[in-house]
Symmetry: C2
């Protein structure tokens, strides 16, 4: 009565293999270079330490790493935290010290596009040496280290002699959450950030507002959430909430790139900001409904200027996403004042010119604020002469279509983030992570210089059908496929059958860390999900 | 950047409507007859009571209803249980009493195929009168009553003047869980039973064992789970666990129909029961792998006889599901002893005869034990002359195919359970509940007598990609669509657009009751999911 017999028997074998070997290649996403030996060392929680190397530019007191040591101790020794009795210190165990040396000083800043996330990890008898240029690289190395530790059937902890040299393939490895179509409570966002760090994602693209609701509580314009959120108290993000998200992210080397999408996708904005949206007309009279932001009024640009000034003060990242997608012209076309403005500006009947006019104004604002703009591909599609430092995010089309788009965009000298094939809110039956895994982001017609303009990719979890009830099992482990594509050497990671047992193993690790990650196929984990 | 603009705007309106009206038609699945008035009464938790009617055949001490009163009080007044302060008894509130009268005595039995689930509910000033033939009908009425209560923006509780006459369209309204492909912890099963009762499902089809694992801990054959479960302690159901599931179900008027599927789907059985499975051959020698149960040995039937005798003693329901699906003949064909047996029995080269021979033996066993057998459609497909009281479950084919199958089966006089269109483990993007809702189980060529042989339907949640991490949001509210089809008047419930706001409302009720039900579309509930 269950359809998948052939696949079942085939894949079952694979799952089985993954449980019979003591452990599968430890680290997801796969490091650039790993040498592992069969030689293994026992670890004891009582005789385990994290220390800063004597040559390290950062020392005790480094906020990012002090907190990471505490966090990773519990991740590496999950039973230890559970145990209520004191553990005996057995003399046959030798100590094991993890020495972390960071070349550059700086623990209180934020990760950014130029952050160096490379690290080297050398595990030998009694010690692990972790070297990195920045604290962000040290975080990546600690994550890898934590995944190398495993337990045998008696509960003893082991780590094998290992050498890792690692760095990310792409600087931008993003994940988008949509908190407008459904509100996501703070703890769901924080939990997602935890899981992101386990897969070495480094950008949280926060699509914070959209048509259905405006949960961002603005200092300058409190009515935006008072009137535009699903509920003005229970369904908003206060400034404190946002600071917490940003700090939680920082601690994990994750950037927070907020999106304030306009001129479309702004229905909820209109509730709290009079005259912002274009009144649509039916014949000669306003119909009572509203369209995109009204690009013809000075008040619009005053408002947007103040809003983005606030955004700059709240979100430290150098990028800001300003949207620009899916602007419907029908309302603008219905409105006589917009028509008069078009005429005055000499736009003729070409509403893309009006849209470009609007977006240029917004891009000038963000440039003045020293922010790099990211926009959805639509902005490039209707107007090729946009500032060259604008980053373009590709979200639509078949493989052939987005590859052609990447050719055009990079030829025009723009940096590109690829998201189209990673809209993983689109679910289907079975192992759809295999599609995400097979994507080759630099596979398009172009020069080497063009390929370098691909700064990364982004998994998107749009919220039409997603809220806190199903977010986590839909995201994990499905998002891990893109995480490996964006971090690892593509030549070593194109075979999904080889990836499968490693991902099964990593998914069990996610469960062990309290992430409600759904199963990839028939089987079990030693420590199943215990929530509910 | 999110694709569903048209649908978004359309459906958004619908969602919106459902939030602006004070309340949507209260009860899911829709009762057969409802008359509701705008007249409403305030309810106070302090002045609310459940009592047995003076003419009721069951009284205080009735296990099923005493427990239900306690349960439904907390469901009706969710804030009351939360409050830490004592509530003042305000004198302006009048009392409200729910009087329950059951015609037939009996509180300690189990629901079965003949249970009368009908009820009448009359809500008027100060009281609700609930009348039913059996305690099972009273449970259905209490569920409806609980869904009629709503809160206004100030938190006050109300119920409208209402008359309901209700009964189920089909006697068998099942939900299948698969605990072999992934183990489901006990609390996940109990939670599912809770949610089932909210949608008036009444059969838990427990597909307890299969190829991947054998979590049923048998008294007679403990090695089946010792060796065949994923883990002999953490991934099994003890006899105590099973009693708890059965009692939890009984309290909610839900039958537990266990499935011990054979001769295929038994790989895990072979681990703990030597000589049960057929050794496959490669040329003249055993290959080391095993096929279906060996139908040629007396020891097989001795074992199956003892196992089903135990099953009878453990599971009180009059039905037992004995599987019979997807038997692969290749292993039997490879084995020379099976070949010799075929010859001796005069089966020629027709292995369906061997399969029929085996299934007849099993059906004879269950008949001797006074159990009604349910089998998957395969058994009918290869062998039309099976005992006429055998119930056939349809699991495959397109709409046209399963309709033709229903024609043939009912023409042969068999009772039928339809599951094929309700394999809701098969997920897809968007509002796929609409497909489940549109199914018309009696829409096939046949006489009225034939239509009556359709005893119901079953939602199946197979476990290839499902465990405790994602079970609940995949099941709910998607399963509710089939629940309404199986309970309600089809003529009144075919329009999915009309059903949509009611289901949105019901899904919020499920959240309020702690069921992690996923969203149907953009929007929010006053009380969102609070777990995680």
């Amino acid at each position: 009565m269950s359809h998948t017999r052939t696949c079942l028997q085939l894949c079952f074998l694979l799952v089985f293999l993954s449980y019979t070997v003591q452990r599968v290649n430890g680290v997801w996403p796969l490091p650039q270079q790993t040498e592992e030996s069969a030689e293994r060392y026992t670890l004891s929680p009582q005789l385990f330490s994290f220390t800063y190397g004597t040559d390290s530019a950062v020392k005790v007191g480094c906020s990012v790493l002090d907190a990471a040591f505490k966090r990773y101790f519990s991740i590496i020794f999950p039973d230890f935290a559970d145990a209520s009795e004191p553990h005996p210190v057995w003399s046959q165990f030798k100590g094991f010290g993890v020495s972390v040396s960071v070349k550059s000083s700086g623990c209180d800043g934020y990760p950014d596009e130029d952050s160096d996330e490379s690290y080297k990890l050398s595990v030998s008898e009694g010690q692990a040496l972790l070297r990195s240029v920045s604290v962000w690289g040290a975080l990546r190395g600690l994550e890898s280290l934590s995944q190398l530790v495993y337990q045998d059937d008696y509960g003893s902890y082991f780590i094998n002699k290992t050498q890792i040299v690692d760095f990310p393939r792409f600087a931008y490895r993003g994940l988008l959450l949509d908190t407008s179509r459904h509100y996501l409570p703070l703890h769901a966002i924080l939990k997602t950030l935890d899981a992101m760090s386990y897969s070495k994602f480094n950008v949280f693209h926060w699509h914070i507002v959209d048509d259905p609701s405006f949960p961002y509580q603005s200092r300058s314009f409190p009515d935006l959430s008072n009137k535009g959120a699903f509920h003005p108290f229970t369904h908003i993000y206060t400034q404190t909430d946002i600071r917490r998200v940003i700090e939680h992210s920082r601690m994990r080397g994750i950037r927070v790139v907020p999106e304030f999408d306009s001129p479309g996708h702004t229905q909820s904005w209109g509730k709290g900001q009079p005259d912002l949206l274009t009144p649509c007309y039916k014949g000669d009279v306003p119909s009572g409904s509203f369209g995109p932001v009204n690009p013809t009024l000075d008040s619009t640009y005053n408002f947007m200027g103040r809003l983005f000034k606030e955004v700059k003060s709240v979100f430290p990242d150098s990028y800001v996403h300003i949207g620009g997608d899916e602007v419907s012209f029908s309302c603008w076309m219905s409105n006589p004042n917009v028509g008069a403005f078009m005429k005055k500006m000499g736009f003729g009947k070409d509403y893309t010119k009006l849209e470009s006019f609007y977006m240029e104004n917004i891009m000038n604002m963000t440039a003045t604020l020293n922010k790099t703009s990211i926009v959805w591909q639509d902005v490039f599609d209707y107007h090729e002469r946009i500032p060259q430092d604008t980053i373009l995010e590709i979200w639509k089309g078949t493989t052939a279509q987005y590859q052609a788009e990447m050719s055009r965009m990079t030829k025009a000298g723009h940096r590109v983030v690829l998201s189209a094939p990673w809209y993983i809110n689109h679910i289907s039956y079975g192992q759809d992570w295999r599609y995400s895994y097979a994507i080759q982001p630099q596979n398009f017609t172009g020069t080497e210089e063009q390929k370098k303009l691909v700064i990364g990719g982004e998994v998107a979890m749009w919220g039409e059908y997603v809220d806190a009830t199903n977010l986590t099992p839909r995201l994990w482990p499905r998002a891990c496929a893109a995480a490996e594509r964006l971090w690892s050497d593509e030549a070593k990671t194109l075979n999904t059958d080889l990836a499968f047992p490693r991902l099964v193993d990593f998914r069990c690790k996610l469960l062990r860390r309290g992430i409600q990650a759904e199963p990839l196929f028939v089987g079990y984990c030693r420590h199943e999900y215990n929530g509910l």
